[in-house]
Symmetry: C2
Subunit: 293 residues, 2 copies
């Protein structure tokens, strides 16, 4: 699926990624989704850094408009929540660094969800997630999320099936409320192949500057690849709704993955038709007051 053409000039996306990468309804078989695809990308690997950087001015403008509506306290101010999920080494960190790193850090709140703390365990699983929702005008990014409660929790049998199996519908209802109350939810599954994961783990073991990224537990989790794939298929099939669809980001190629998430974010922000907040003061009167100082 990777396009081989090398255009001399950056070519704009002709069909939005919000359509191209949106998971269609129906049964999901990860084996049929190509993790090395470069869907919608009009160029080759060599074009990727320039095409990704070319998104920055618009991303920057849109994010500032979003931020402005939040700061101005406009009643309709939106929130954006980008959810990143994927197998180990799929590149959540890379997306944060290269795509989210293009956004003014004042307008971004990143939350990485780890194993729940003792306090978090005393609450329903959505409690800690609810607390981390972005305020109006802010782009929140979840590095892992409530989906771990039907992924890691399911695969490692941390609760009984009778418990986790009810969560898909709960999550759908919770996300529908979130969207109804003005949050733009962008759920990205970073899809890699098992072979790519093996390569990336091997690279960490081959390079002393990457030892810190490696954990022996990664190999233990890798041994559960099929169980994780099954759990992801259930998530994608049952929790890709009309109001909160999943986007499948082919992530074997890092350069495509980073571009695609940035492009998806731009498309979502663009669709909000964000306007600069009007003055809530008398502009001419303020000019006169300032002139007197």
């Amino acid at each position: 699926m990777a396009k081989k053409s090398k255009p001399q000039e950056p070519v704009p996306v002709t069909q939005p990624l919000t359509e191209l990468l949106r998971l269609p309804a129906g049964p999901v078989d990860l084996g049929t989704l190509d993790p090395a695809a470069t869907t919608g990308f009009a160029g080759s690997k060599a074009d990727a850094p320039a095409l990704t950087a070319a998104l920055q001015p618009e991303l920057s403008d849109l994010q500032e408009r979003l931020y402005a509506t939040g700061r101005a306290g406009l009643p309709g101010a939106r929130r954006v929540l980008l959810v990143l999920q994927g197998m180990d080494t799929a590149g959540k960190g890379g997306v944060l660094r290269h795509a989210i790193g293009m956004v003014d850090p004042q307008g971004v709140r990143i939350k990485a969800f780890k194993a729940p703390t003792a306090e978090e365990r005393r609450h329903p699983y959505l409690w800690r997630v609810e607390r981390e929702l972005p305020p109006p005008g802010i782009i929140g990014v979840f590095d892992r999320s409530h989906y771990e409660d039907v992924l890691n929790v399911r695969v490692n049998r941390l609760v009984e099936e009778a418990v986790w199996s009810t969560r898909y519908e709960e999550i759908n209802a919770w996300e529908a409320d979130l969207v109804a109350s003005g949050t733009v939810l962008v759920k990205c599954f970073l899809h890699i192949s098992s072979a790519t994961q093996k390569e990336r783990l091997a690279a960490r073991l081959d390079d002393p500057t990457k030892y810190w990224k490696y954990n022996p537990g990664d190999v233990d989790e890798r041994a559960k690849w099929l169980a994780y794939a099954e759990a992801y298929e259930a998530v994608l099939e049952r929790c890709s709704t009309q109001v909160a669809p999943w986007f499948v980001i082919p992530s074997d190629r890092k350069w495509f993955r980073n571009w695609a998430v940035a492009q998806l974010l731009v498309e979502h922000l663009r669709s909000l038709d964000l306007q600069w907040p009007p003055a809530d003061f008398d502009v001419e009167a303020e000019k006169r007051r300032l002139a007197l100082t």
Copy 2:
């Protein structure tokens, strides 16, 4: 003081900004510190974007090493805290966007201190600041800080002089503890002229895309310029210590300001001689385990 030379190639800083911009001991008169200076910058305005961007690779490498030591839980893992203070429009937001924006957002925690909440008011003034200190491996950035408790609080007489006047020594003792326990503290005063502030406020009133940045209260605060200048002079004179000096960043020129803060951050990180954490597992054994998967 602005250098007029236009070198064809980016020229490295010959003397560190940690020396050039470090406030010397002794009485401080803001009137004698040129807010339009470009101290240590080997180039002109046109060179600034390239010279600033040229810092990114080293900044990125140093930040990742810092982050790695924190993630690896090394006992000596350092924390970095950048404190940004300055009059309204001095450019704290611009520094966050353009200098801190060059750093991987996963390794940065930005905290903007506003008027204290009801809960914060029930605690000593350093309580809310203490809670926002960066964890090991992280670069914390304070957009305003505990210094507001001897700036805004002093100028607007929010507590009695008998209260605020004891705070300088308290702050010095608190910061000395912070540094002794492994935090690298980089305190930047963004220094602008009164004329520059007036221009920047006027620009916000002239441009509908900037109305949201303007608040009529800004003119009220501007009327207290001299009182603020006096309060800043007291801060700079009394709280620039051997272990936690103030750096005065001439900030009338935005391009110099952004470069200077990024350069200062690089110099501080460089001085830590950050090493990649060693493997805390058997590398060869892990390679064999991975190969079997």
